[in-house]
């Protein structure tokens, strides 16, 4: 698919861009270069000057083997849309893998461009469908415009449009953009960062008083981790932009590696508003979402997956929330606070504890240093739990949980009175059933026929 104007037709098989094996091999070169210093040096030591070309040949052979493998990978990978409207990917050199993605269960499509492919104007496409375990397909690499075109076609077909979807360019409207200084400051002010930095200063202070420097050994750990965490997230979330397009919400981010994620409407299984202590003077909040199937696969991207908005004022966060869960007015939902006796079990977060519901969603609030306001649509409720530990039992308290697909959001109505928790659970199971009967978000562009 070197020319993206070429019409994509059902059944026609495509290959990735021919430069893919080169780009896939490139990241191992720096490591090999470093290794060649040692091996080359060792060889020179052992065999004299004649050892140097020997070592180089060895390295080159290794590069050739890796490249050869990547080349075969490229040769063997084919993707196409089949007659039943599914997206198919056949791949694998030694183990053949024929994957069939049911587009009606599409969750998200990501266009990811790591540093090296970006220099070549290439990107890889990650397609996630709902399902446990490894339910995604990764296509590495395509030219950036081709990747975008394929994304459009996949999302369009999933929406129930036909082949023409590819040519319908959905215009984007930028809704929110996170300013770089806000992002940096917010990451530093997070509770975990601040905590570790405080610990570092305590360690420094104590070892100063003590005159010994054993304590200093801890400093790289307590001081280094937060710096790495902040730097990692900063690079990842840099330039975070939320935009709406005809085919869903588009989230763009990244400094070295850029990523653009498309979330079709109705895919969000739960939302969490997170408010660390030191963000409150600024009125900031982070919004995280759970999308079924996205977090269940083990992935290096896991860290910031599920971020809908890294930091923003409440008003902005609510605007964007309205896009992922239309028709839900958070302010109109009255939260019921926990019974007085819960003070004994949760003295610090007692005032925050709350649960409430509207016709469409259940909302819970909890947390002391870091507050969580979590929202789950009744239609996305998987199962309901009531739990009671030994202390809670003495006090006649219990917590109600709503189970949602794996992801960053946990829904917990903490420390209600035991009968109330039980009632909440039954009521939630009932509401979930009612909502599910009405739910029709599988084919959102056309009225549902049979899914």
């Amino acid at each position: 698919m070197s020319d993206h104007d070429e019409p994509a037709t059902t059944g026609v098989k495509y290959q990735l861009h021919p430069l893919s094996p080169v780009i896939a091999t490139a990241p191992v070169l720096p490591g090999l270069l470093i290794a060649s210093w040692f091996i080359g040096g060792g060889a020179a030591f052992k065999y004299g000057v004649a050892g140097i070309p020997l070592g180089m040949i060895g390295i080159l052979a290794l590069v050739a083997v890796i490249f050869g493998y990547q080349y075969l990978n490229w040769r063997k990978l084919e993707y196409w849309f089949d007659d039943s409207g599914d997206f198919r990917v056949d791949s694998g050199v030694i183990y053949r893998n024929e994957r069939r993605l049911q587009l009606s269960r599409l969750q998200t499509v990501d266009v990811v461009s790591p540093l090296i492919p970006r220099l070549f104007g290439m990107a890889s496409l990650r397609i996630e469908v709902a399902g446990a375990g490894n339910s995604k397909a990764v296509l590495s690499f395509l030219k950036q415009p081709d990747a975008d075109a394929l994304r459009r076609e996949i999302v369009g077909r999933a929406a129930g449009l036909g082949e023409q979807a590819k040519h319908v360019e959905a215009p984007e409207t930028v809704i929110a953009q996170v300013p770089t200084e806000d992002l940096g400051l917010s990451l530093i002010l997070r509770s975990s960062t601040v905590g570790l930095l405080l610990l570092t200063s305590v360690v420094l202070f104590v070892s100063y008083l003590d005159g010994g420097f054993k304590g200093l050994l801890l400093v790289p750990v307590t001081g280094g981790i937060p710096i790495l965490m902040v730097a990692g997230e900063f690079l990842n979330l840099y330039g975070f932009t939320v935009a709406t397009a005809g085919d869903g919400l588009r989230l763009r981010r990244g400094l070295l590696q850029t990523q653009s994620q498309t979330v079709p409407p109705g895919r969000v299984a739960a939302v969490d508003f997170i408010e660390p202590l030191l963000w409150r003077p600024k009125g900031w909040v982070r919004v995280q979402i759970t999308i079924a199937g996205v977090n269940s696969s083990s992935d290096d991207q896991k860290l910031s997956e599920g971020v809908l908005l890294p930091v923003a004022p409440w008003a902005e966060a609510k605007t964007i929330f309205a896009l992922v869960m239309p028709g839900v007015d958070l302010d109109a939902i009255r939260l019921e606070s926990a019974p007085q006796k819960a003070r004994w079990r949760a003295p610090f977060q007692f005032k925050q504890l709350g649960v409430g519901h509207s016709e469409k969603v259940l909302v819970t609030r909890r947390g002391w240093l870091t507050r969580h306001l979590s929202v789950v649509p009744h239609a996305r409720t998987q199962s309901v739990r009531v739990e009671q530990g030994p202390v809670s039992r003495r006090l006649g308290l219990a917590s109600m949980y709503v189970d949602v697909p794996p992801g960053p959001v946990r829904i917990r109505a903490a420390f209600r009175s035991a009968p109330e928790a039980r009632e909440l659970a039954d009521a939630q199971a009932y509401r979930a059933r009612q909502a599910r009967a009405r739910d029709q978000s599988t084919h959102w562009a056309n009225p549902p026929t049979q899914s």
Partner: protein, 149 residues
Amino acid sequence: MSNRLSTARRLTATFALLVPLAIVIILLLIPGVPRWIPTLVLAIAVLGYLWSLWYLGRRTRSWKYAERDEDLLVLRGIMFKRLVIVPYGRMQLVDLAAGPLDRAFGITSLQLHTAAATTDAVIPGLTPDIAAALRDRLASKGEHRAAGL
């Protein structure tokens, strides 16, 4: 729940007792260790064992389930009580599992999975025929009420 579950669990606890017993023997063999240390370890191990015999019995008896019209209810626990409600429409698969010890005792455990990994609905200690029947019933109820994610 089958009573055999308690027996199986108690047997496991008995195996677990072997570890502190081994420690006691090792402590006795090491010269220079005062005698009261292995004695204390032994006493704690035996007390813990007796308590676990009693507690395991109670805990397995606390395990209950109910098939309601629209969902399955699983109740369990003494110290940490837990109640799980799984709507039939949300079940993705039903697992039957029996380890070697379970098989020796003729019991099977049944586990329900939904799209959420945190759904923790296990019913242990069913006799195989009851478990299989329950599984088939649940599967057919799930089919009738199946819904997307």
